[in-house]
Symmetry: C2
């Protein structure tokens, strides 16, 4: 049964969420889109997720501090209402103030924090500058473009823009805002428009497209939209798309066209919601796996479908938005992240970039869970990357009632005497997303309703001591056992939401592939799971991942201490955003892509063996 | 009467010409398109125009050496047939060997000679390189573009080319010729095509268009074509064209379209004659006056027609050939020279570049004679430039029987007891070009058939002692005296070719404007004509300019010692060629354009005064 949810408001952002009683504030904040810093993994030892509880009347709320908080915060701060978000369970509606210092360094801040390196992260490829020039007069016959160049510094220019400049300068009395992209003058706008400078970052996933509007003048995120990648109608993995491009004469154009249309529609949604003029969007930055990037660019992926799976480009691409057909400023630009190999793409480079994993002391691991699962191991200055065909289960595809982590998705499930879930948007659920899939499978394993081999228990074989609520949830569905997460009366569809035997098989495949990839990379480096100092889990499968549950289903090795696992969210999108904002980040991305060794698992004997093993859920 | 002409062949080029008996070999070589080095001005003192006379049977010819030659060459060389071209008059048909060392340093060599500076002049914007790459194989899944980059070094690339590369590499077994333009990969061609790398240099004159095909792999000139600028139908000076662009709604597009079409037709002629594939022409480099360059680029020239006459661009432009509509390689590039001011354009910068005048010791002057006369003075590290509206007389326009210096043009005239002329191409004449205009005016002044004020003598007022042949040439034409250069029986048209009173007036205007400009610039720098150490005369008005005659008509001040005057030919074309071949030259051009002070003569009192004075022919 769905539990009544408690509304929480965060200040100064004004973001709100609704969570179940007892949910740690850290998690509630994540639900509201605020990622608090918690390097200790929510153990209450690092003291970084400091927040201040405000009563509804602005006074400190009543939550008593725990011992960890007393240690980390001191009585003075506690008297002012400060608490650690990871140690504070939600008990009643409240307003919480989040100090800037407690937010997980946004990605460009992470970058600038890298080991004290001084990196100017506010150097986007697109720059605006307001300039005022003296008007030509007798004795000052300086050519128009040189006049502008004297005010602005050197720039490149194409013929079209050179043709426009003389008229533009005079229409605006030689005052206005010059826009450059990659050092090329792309516009001269009336007045001071330096505050209207936007980019869109796009995560081009095999299953899901996510786009974010970014204010380049502040670095702020102005909105995010997502949708199913329309290419899924031609198959839900990269190989079927490559096949479609190859077998049908206009297959490539078709795949390219529909994803481009979708991107343009998402840009349209973003600018409309954000009340931003489309002509003020000057750049789009793309991250996706190698095949998705090539299809987006209409670069024939056929050689990605043949041994030895060679990408067409490799390095990053800068392109004219008009050449690609992007509906932004007519002289805007596009950027596509570099890739590591045929199946380790710009999305993985994004993850490496935003986690700064290569800069960690001690071995670190990145697990990026999408339709493919990419794994990167950084150890002793070396970087190894591999891709596994995990399938789209964690994105809700191939799962009977699966869905993306959007409005109406059950995103968290706990089971004790009964079952409790929370729904994104606080509405009646219409399905469940990847994080809930992990939760429910972990809970059913714990309650022995799924065997280590992945068999769901038949209604006739249920344990005697199983609480009645759970007992009633085990049903027969398509001649196999299934588990009802939400009954037909609770859902937005009027039909029950359940986990089927087939769903569990999909989960085993997805989880096993990723786990096997981790094992193989660790073995290559001569490491054990416990040697990892940091594990970054990235992916768009929900607002949060419950580490214990991820380990319970065997997605991550149990030997990794829980506090070393950090959830990174959609790192592909974050990397696209970061590279839109920073040329330094682009250079870093290029360098990371080139430094990383691509490990081909497709013919790896150890991988096959590990995969078979990893298909079995941990019996713990 | 036309004199029988003597055929001369030059080796090793095999170039031929026909000249009048007594013509110095130096001048004959110029007629064949070979500019011999002659810094002493043909006085026989520098010894640089050394050539070897070969009899028709390959043995030394009979011409006896003069004292200057004995001094410069020594008996051993003289025995081998060596002579100084400036001291050797043509007496009979012969074959002449021209040592490489005697050719006027071609323009890029001039550049590399600049005061011992080490300038790599073989660094064109377009580069070709043949590469062979290992093919992808298991264990080598390097992306295609990175594979190429490893072989070639870094390059930029646009989306279209990135799309082509994977297929291209495989079609050609990962071997072929990479073409880059301005650091951007524009093609990957099958096989080794490094020998097929061409550019076209274009002089965009107000009256005349000249285009040259250049082999970028050798620096060699492969052909030159010229034609009337079709814009002349809208007026023969820049102001009438600016007016047309302004007054007619599609005037600019029309002016742009017809000159672009003409350029494309000339490129077509060049590649056909040169047996070169159009797709192997990767670049076009343009030099012209500011208005011509803007019309070519379709950059509205209206502000060039208003005080303070501001150019739209100023700096050089690099552009995509496709953006301009040039019919060369589809991803080829264009380059347009930087300009100095509204009426001192890329043609003048070209002249400064190829003469290296800024590097001369002592004051030097460049006089570029086209439809406008541009004058540049270099003195004590300063550069001053001014334009005068000379009009197109020296290009044969506004002259009744005037024509460009092409096939059928009388290009040299001498008058003693009778009149002698030579015709380009050795055919029956159809008109006369600028150099002949200077000659005939100078000769008529000398024979007092033109007064210092420019009045032609009436038949009834002819001097008593005038030879009969000349007497018969003075006729009445349009109610004014005129002088017959070639009678109707001698010409290709069946009509006489004559110099009219109106022609003389045009010459006075043109010559006076240029002379006045020279005087004003010298005065600004506090110099006298005799202070000039070097005077470069450039222009496309013939094969050669006779310095004495240029001084006789007052085009150049008489006080300049004759041996300091050097004819530079079409310097605009030479600069376009040089900038196609050398990025160093482009940087030099940019620097020269920016360093040069633009002197506006239009409101200069001294100019008006000097112009009035200069309209009077020297009475000497």
């Amino acid at each position: 049964m769905p539990e009544a949810e408690i509304p929480i408001t965060f200040q100064p952002s004004g973001k709100t969420t609704r969570v179940r009683r007892g949910t740690p504030l850290l998690e509630a904040a994540a639900g509201a889109g605020l990622t608090l810093d918690s390097p200790c993994g929510g153990e209450g030892t690092c003291g970084k997720c400091r927040v201040r509880l405000l009563g509804t009347n602005g006074k400190p709320g009543p939550s008593p501090p725990g011992p960890a908080e007393l240690r980390r915060l001191g009585t003075e701060e506690i008297d002012e209402g400060f608490r650690l978000a990871c140690q504070t369970p939600v008990a009643e509606p409240m307003t919480v103030e989040v100090p800037e210092s407690s937010l997980l360094a946004s990605h460009y801040q992470i970058l600038s924090d890298w080991k004290g390196r001084s990196i100017d992260t506010r150097d986007p490829a697109v720059a605006k500058r307001y300039v005022e020039m003296p008007e030509p007069a007798r004795g000052d016959d300086q050519p128009d473009l040189l006049r502008l160049q004297n005010a602005l510094g050197p720039f490149d220019i194409d013929l079209e823009m050179a043709r426009l400049i003389p008229g533009r300068l005079r229409e605006n009395q030689f005052r206005g805002t010059a826009v450059t992209a990659d050092g090329r003058l792309i516009d001269f706008e009336p007045g001071d428009t330096t505050g209207q400078c936007f980019a869109v970052a796009v995560d081009v996933g095999t299953t899901t497209l996510v786009a974010m509007l970014v204010d380049l003048s502040t670095g702020e995120e102005l909105g995010v939209v997502s949708r199913l990648n329309p290419q899924t109608r031609f198959g839900d993995d990269v190989l079927t798309r490559i096949l479609h491009a190859r077998e049908k004469s206009d297959g490539l154009a078709e795949l390219h066209g529909i994803v481009l249309d979708a991107v343009n529609e998402m840009i349209g949604e973003l600018v409309e919601r954000g009340d931003v003029a489309r002509r003020h969007v000057y750049e789009v930055s793309f991250a996706g796996n190698t095949t998705m990037q090539q299809l987006l660019c209409r670069i024939d992926p056929q050689f990605l479908g043949e041994v030895p799976f060679v990408p067409g480009v490799g390095r990053s691409l800068r392109l004219a938005a008009a050449d690609l057909g992007l509906a932004i400023h007519p002289r805007g630009v596009g950027y596509v992240l570099p890739v590591i190999g045929g199946f380790v793409g710009g999305d993985t480079v994004s993850g490496m970039l935003v986690t700064a994993m290569a800069e960690e002391e001690g071995p670190s691991l990145l697990v990026d869970i999408g339709t493919n699962g990419e794994i990167v191991l950084a150890a002793e200055g070396k970087l190894l990357a591999a891709a596994t065909a995990a399938g789209p289960a964690f994105e809700g595809a191939r799962i009977e009632h699966g869905m993306r982590g959007g409005h109406g998705a059950i995103e968290k499930v706990t089971i004790d005497d009964g079952l409790h879930y929370s729904v994104i948007g606080g509405v009646k659920p219409i399905g469940f997303c990847g994080s809930a899939l992990i939760d429910v499978a972990a809970e059913l394993l714990r309650h022995k309703l799924i065997s280590p081999e992945g068999r769901m228990t038949w209604p006739v074989d249920l344990p005697e001591d199983l609480p009645e609520d759970l007992r009633q949830r085990v049903v027969i569905h398509n001649d196999h056992p299934a588990f009802v997460i939400a009954g037909e009366t609770e859902t937005g569809t009027g039909k029950p939401i359940l986990l089927s035997q087939r769903d569990v098989r999909q989960l085993q495949l997805a989880s096993g592939a990723i786990r096997a990839g981790i094992v193989v990379l660790l073995r290559r480096a001569g490491l054990e799971p416990a040697d990892l100092r940091r594990v970054f889990v990235a992916g768009g499968f929900g607002n949060f991942i419950r580490r214990t549950n991820a380990q319970r289903i065997g997605l991550l090795p149990e030997q990794i201490p829980r506090d070393r696992i950090r959830y990174q969210g959609n790192a592909s999108l974050a990397g696209a955003r970061l590279t839109a904002m920073s040329l330094v980040a682009r250079r870093q991305a290029e360098e990371l892509a080139r430094r990383t060794e691509h490990v081909d698992l497709s013919f790896d004997y150890h991988f096959q063996e590990s995969f078979a093993e990893a298909m079995i859920f941990p019996s713990g």
